[in-house]
Structures are given as structure tokens and as C-alpha cells.
Amino acid sequence: MTDMTVSGASVAMPRTKSLLQLDERTRRRNASEARFRMIGFLAVLIGVFALVFLLGSILSNGLSSFRQTYISLDIFLDPARLDKAGTRDPAELAKITTFSYAPLIEKALADAMAAKGVSGDGVSVKAAAELISKEAPADLRRYVLAHPQAIGTKVNFDLLASGRIDGYYKGRVTMESAELDRNISPAQLQLADKLKAAGILGTHFNWGFFTAPDASDTRPEASGLGVAILGSAYMMIIVLVLSLPLGVASSIYLEEFAPQNRLTDLIEVNIANLAAVPSVVFGILGLAAFINFAGLPQSAPVVGGLVLTLMTLPTIIIATRAALKSVPPSIRDAALGVGASKMQAIFHHVLPLAMPGILTGTIIGLARALGETAPLLLIGMVAFVRDYPAGPPEGFFDPASALPVQVYNWTQRGDPAFIERASGAIIVLLVFLILMNLSAIILRRRYERRW
């Protein structure tokens, strides 16, 4: 401002120098512009650096979780252990616990080592069996219960290697660290190397990471995102189904029909306010309203979805109102002019034109809801959940986890292998967020009209 008044005064002064020669003040103005540009560039640079650092650390920690070490064994499903009566009665088979399956795996590993000429070199059979995940007996039991006719035959299984062995092939565990590690010895690592050379042990893509449920602290190698992805998907369905119609209906009413008075002003201020309320507040509200008052179950996607709906609604309403506002009044006037009712004008002409903006706002609101953890903390969704929820709509009431919650959960576990898992889960979450934001951008670019 001051510059302008000064330069305004200077116009009256007779110009003595050439236009091509910069005078002192122009130079100063140019310098300040260059400074500002540099600061702006620096700010962007810092942002980019932070992003690269963040992505770099997440990717370097987490990409390895998409690959997993497996041990392939032919296991003899010994009827003497699994079905003493020989009846193949499912009720009887179900009584055999995973504890009885572990010796079968031990024996199969010893047999495979003998067949391929791999010597244990002082590693006992029990220590050798520690290379295999504690999840393996459970896998075996599940298979036998599903296929009772397989008892008495040899079946090939791809069993998970234990977390430390998997870490060894990912560089997390080294010979030096194994020396100090209580859970693994260098001799066991050497045995793993021999098994690898013999083709028994190998690394391949880890589908289980996307489909398997969470696992307890003793088997990080078995943990996956299955329940979390399903839980997040259920919540997003609920958020979409509830917040889109509610948000759009209330915005249309407020924007097109509601009279301008104190009450609507108050509502408007409150909506803007709610959009800025910290999400954890919605969690407290959800706990009080949905669980304690309405009696909905804890840890269920339905409650999570309802809480996130409350959180997303203001965002959608604000976006929808902006989209409706951007449709020029001439469209409404023209529709009304040819005899359309107000409702026809809005639903036939204004709303279709505003749709890209509404959808963009909705997707961005959903993306925010997808990454939200704090409100879920209060409604019991930060939990160890291993059973998949049923199909919708019953599944909405079953306990489930959610993607960001799973990240939070895994970072708290004692075993260092869970750090890799948490980073892997962050990558999955980021991919989902990128997809959503990308589709919002595409929608806006392709369909949005400007007048």
C-alpha cells in the first residue's frame, strides 16, 4: 500500500532517466519480489523434502511386508494322532487341538531335511521347528477339519516361516543381532540358509497380508489386514449411504428453499463450526449416543460408520452448498421461466450441474473419514479382532477393525516385526487415499463446468 502511494506521487515528478535503466526503487521492488519467490520456493522445498522423507521411511520399512518367507513341506496327516477312532467324525476331529498338530510339522521338517541331505549341525529338531511360524499348526488343523478325507495322506503345505527368519531375509535380523537375540540363534539362521539352498524355504508374494486377520504378538508373520480392510469398507459404505443423502438434502434445503433469517444463520455458523471440531469429540458423542443410549454393540462398524458420518456431514454440506451456489441463477430462472416448479428446476437442472462438485466433496470427506483413528478409539474399535465380520448388513454389527486402527495397534506391539507390518499397512492406506483423491480430481476435471 505504501509503495503505491509513493509511486503515485512519483508519477507527477518529471522522469529524468531512461525507462531501460532501473532506478533505485524499482531495483528494491524487484529484489523484494525475488526474495519472496525464494522464500516461497524454499517453503515448497521443505514440504517436498518432508514428504520424500516420510514416504522414503515408510516405503523402506514397509515394502518388505508385501513379501513373505515360506517353508514348503509334505506333511503326513497321521491318523494315529489326528483320528484315533478312525471314524473321521467331525466332532471328534474338532477335539484335537493345535498342540497335537505341531509334532506332525516337526517330523515333516526332519524328514524333508533328511531327504534333501540338509544336516542340522547341532540344531535340535525342536529348535529347527522354531523356524516355522506358530500359525502353522492352526493352518493344518483348519485344512484337516475342512478335508477330513485327507487324513492318512501326504499333503504339501506352504507354511509361514517364523518372524525372525522372515526378518533375516529382509535384513532386519543379522547374524550379529541373532547372537544377542533370545528368540533365534545364528545356528538356526544358518540352517535356514541351507533350507533355502535346498529349495525348501523360499520367499514369495504375501497375499496373506491383504486377506489374513490380525495375529497375536507371538506370530507377527501371520498378521494381515483382512479384517481391517473389511471393517474400513463397511464403515465407508455406511458413511456414504448416510451422509450423502442427508448432506445433499440439507444443503439443497438451506441453499434453495430456506428463508434467510436468524435461525438459518445460526445453522450456517454451526455447520462451519462442526467441520472444524476435533474428530475425537465425535467419538465421545458416539460412545454416549450410540453405545450407551441406543445400545448398539461395541467395536462394530455400524457405530464407527455413524460416528464418521457425523464427522463427514459438515464437509459434505459445505461442499454441496458451494457447488449449488456456483450454478448460475440464469439456469434456475430459465427453468422457472418455462414453467418448471422450483423443485423441478432444482432436481432437473441445478443438481445435475452441481453433481461433480458434490461428488468431489463427498469423496474428499470419505477419504478423511477413512484415515480417522481418534473417534474409533473411544467406541472400542481399537481392539484385537481376528474373526471376519459377516456379510452386510449383519456384518455391520460384528466386531471389526479399521485400517488406521490397525496401524496404531501394530506400532504398540513388542516384536520388532510389527514395525514392518505397520509401515506396510500405511502403504495400503495411502494407496486407498490416493485412489480416492485421484478419482475426485478426475471427476472435477472431466465434468465440472465453469460459467
Binding site: T98, L180, S216, D217, L242, N292, L296, Q298, P393, Q412
Partner: protein, 346 residues
């Protein structure tokens, strides 16, 4: 507007379904984050080996878990609360007020609290008195109570390493902190004679003297960690002079990064804690809402499964993860079978 009609229909449907929420068939558990790994190991094995679904285990702290347990009876309240400290009288009163009259107390075993530093640093052999002299707000020096002047461990005791004192101790919301205060700081206070001096200064008021004993210095030497052990580990990792307070099982999972200090000459391990030699340990519990036992399918089985020899015994997976098995497990198993509610606290 097709989308609108569709979503409106779905809205109506979902509201209709919320009225017909099915009865809960999985057990819900909440509470201590120390007990959480053990509870999740048991829950996993329980889901694997029975026809019942895997119980849902939530963490959130012992106190919060017990409060949730005492919220009332009914399917939208939890069934079992894990706790790393004993239930309090106030909790029981709250329970009774909300209609939760019968609670079973189940002791699952013991947890050791260990002091560990960076693996490359010097080795430490502590006594409780060392910790009191290092961290207390006021200590006895030349017969007088003074503000704690000690800066290095060497100042505390001449044969300890010459390393600045820096301790990462659990924040006050943790159950572990109570045990740390009681079994390390206050015991140490009695050991080095500060307690007697404080007793004299407080006109023989024992509780005031204990309270003064347990006051931790506030000049940045003792850092409260409100997060969990992973945060403590990260702090020790970033500051090699730091000594962290961990649970035994967490240390056993990270023996390649941490070295453990002895306490009063005893190295912490499952064996020394079970034998009662290592001084800093505490019992772990869970509390069962008896009114739910016949309502939630599989709940009685879960409780019995948890304390069975296969799980909680000395050779079970819980002991392998770092839980110190309870020598009186047999008694617990019988009590659980009989569904014996806990006697009123004294």
C-alpha cells in the same frame, strides 16, 4: 435422481436392521495393555481350537477396563476386564451400584519389571537404594534432607559407571508406575535411611513419609513415558545414556537392542521371578463378570482355557512370551471351575 432414491432406501434398511441387532456371540474383553499380549495369545488359540469365535480384546489401561466392566450388566457391556493391578474398593462399589455384584478375580501369573539400557553401553547392577538416590526429589546427605544433587550414576554409588542419570519411567497412568514407585523407589527409600528421616520430619506420619519418599525429582532427569514400551525403547535408542523401565516380555523380545540390569544382585528372568528372588514383580489379573457367564457362549470355557496348564502353565505359550507362571495355578483352576466370586476387599 436414482442415486438419491437408492441411498434413501439403504438408509431406511440400515435403520430397520439396527433395531434387529443380533445377540452377541463373541466375548468382549478390555483393559490393561500389559495383559493385552497374553490375552490376545489366549484369544487366538481359543478361537483356533474351539467352535466359538475369537474373543475381541481391547486395550486402554487397567483402570479404564475395570470401569467399563462396572458399567452394568447387559450385552453392550464388556465381559472381562484385564488388569495389571488389583481392583480397588471404589471399583467394586461402582460395580455394585450398577448391578454388577458378582466378580471373579483370576490371577494369571506374574510380570517382571526390568531396567534395561542400550546394548552397547556399560553394564549396570542396581539396588533399589540406587534408584531412590538417583531419582527421588529429596535424599539424605550427611544426615540432612537435601534436594537431590546427584548428576551421574557414579555420584549415586562410586562403583556404578560414570554416566549421566537419565531414566525413562512409566507415566502415572500406567499400572507399572505404581509398582515402580512402591517396590523400587519407596523400598529404596527405606533401605538408604531416608524414610526414617522423613518419618521424623513428618511427626511419625507413615503415609506422609511414604508419599514424600515416592516423590520423583522434576529437573528432567526422570522422564515420564505415557506411551507404551515401544516409545521407551525409541527414547533409549535415541539417547544412549537413558535407562528404560520395561516389562520382562518386552525386553525378551528385544534382547538384541537392550541389556538388562540386575536388581539387588538378581538378574530378572522367568525363573528368578517365579522363585520370588527378583524383587520387582507384580501379579496380573483379569476380572470376570459372573452374570455374563451363562449368557455369552463360550465364556466359561475361555476363562478355564486361559488358566489351563496348556496356556498359563510353565511350559505354555504365555510363559514362552514372558509371563511368569503362577505356582498356585491349580488353585486358580479350581476356583474358576467353581465360579467363585471374589471376597470383599479388606
Amino acid at each position: 435422481m436414482n442415486i438419491l432414491k437408492l441411498s434413501a432406501a439403504a438408509l431406511v434398511a440400515s435403520v430397520a436392521f439396527s433395531g434387529a441387532a443380533a445377540a452377541r456371540d463373541q466375548i468382549q474383553i478390555a483393559g490393561s495393555s500389559t495383559v493385552l499380549p497374553y490375552a490376545s495369545i489366549v484369544a487366538e488359540a481359543f478361537g483356533e481350537n474351539t467352535k466359538h469365535p475369537t474373543p475381541v480384546v481391547e486395550s486402554g489401561g487397567s483402570g479404564a477396563g475395570r470401569k467399563k466392566l462396572c458399567e452394568g450388566v447387559g450385552e453392550n457391556t464388556i465381559d472381562i476386564a484385564n488388569s495389571s493391578s488389583r481392583i480397588s474398593k471404589a471399583d467394586i462399589e461402582l460395580c455394585a451400584k450398577n448391578g454388577v455384584t458378582e466378580i471373579q478375580e483370576v490371577r494369571i501369573g506374574y510380570d517382571g519389571i526390568v531396567f534395561a539400557s542400550d546394548i552397547k553401553g556399560p553394564k549396570f547392577a542396581f539396588t533399589q537404594a540406587d534408584w531412590h538416590k538417583a531419582l527421588a526429589a529429596k535424599i539424605l546427605k550427611d544426615g540432612k534432607l537435601v534436594d537431590n544433587p546427584n548428576k551421574t550414576w557414579k555420584d549415586v554409588r562410586a562403583d556404578l559407571p560414570n554416566q549421566p542419570i537419565l531414566a525413562f519411567i512409566p507415566g502415572t497412568k500406567h499400572g507399572t508406575r505404581e509398582v515402580f514407585d512402591e517396590k523400587v523407589i519407596i523400598d529404596g527409600c527405606k533401605e538408604d535411611g531416608t524414610y526414617d528421616a522423613l518419618l521424623a520430619a513428618n511427626n511419625n506420619d507413615k503415609s506422609a513419609a511414604s508419599k514424600a519418599c515416592g516423590a520423583i525429582r522434576t529437573d528432567g532427569v526422570a522422564v515420564d513415558i505415557d506411551g507404551d514400551y515401544t516409545e521407551t525403547l525409541a527414547r533409549v535408542d535415541a539417547n544412549k545414556n537413558g535407562i528404560g523401565v520395561f516389562g520382562l516380555s518386552f525386553y525378551q523380545n528385544n534382547t538384541d537392542k537392550l541389556q538388562v540390569a540386575t536388581m539387588a544382585g538378581i538378574e530378572p528372568s522367568v525363573e528368578t521371578i517365579a522363585a520370588g528372588k527378583y524383587p520387582v514383580s507384580r501379579p496380573l489379573y483379569f476380572y470376570v463378570k459372573n452374570a455374563h457367564l451363562d449368557v455369552i457362549p463360550g465364556m466359561q470355557e475361555y476363562v478355564e482355557f486361559f488358566v489351563s496348564d496348556e496356556m498359563a502353565g510353565p511350559n505354555g505359550p504365555l510363559a514362552a512370551y514372558g509371563l511368569v507362571s503362577d505356582p498356585e495355578l491349580k488353585k486358580t483352576q479350581e476356583a474358576v471351575k467353581a465360579r467363585k466370586p471374589m471376597a470383599p476387599l479388606k
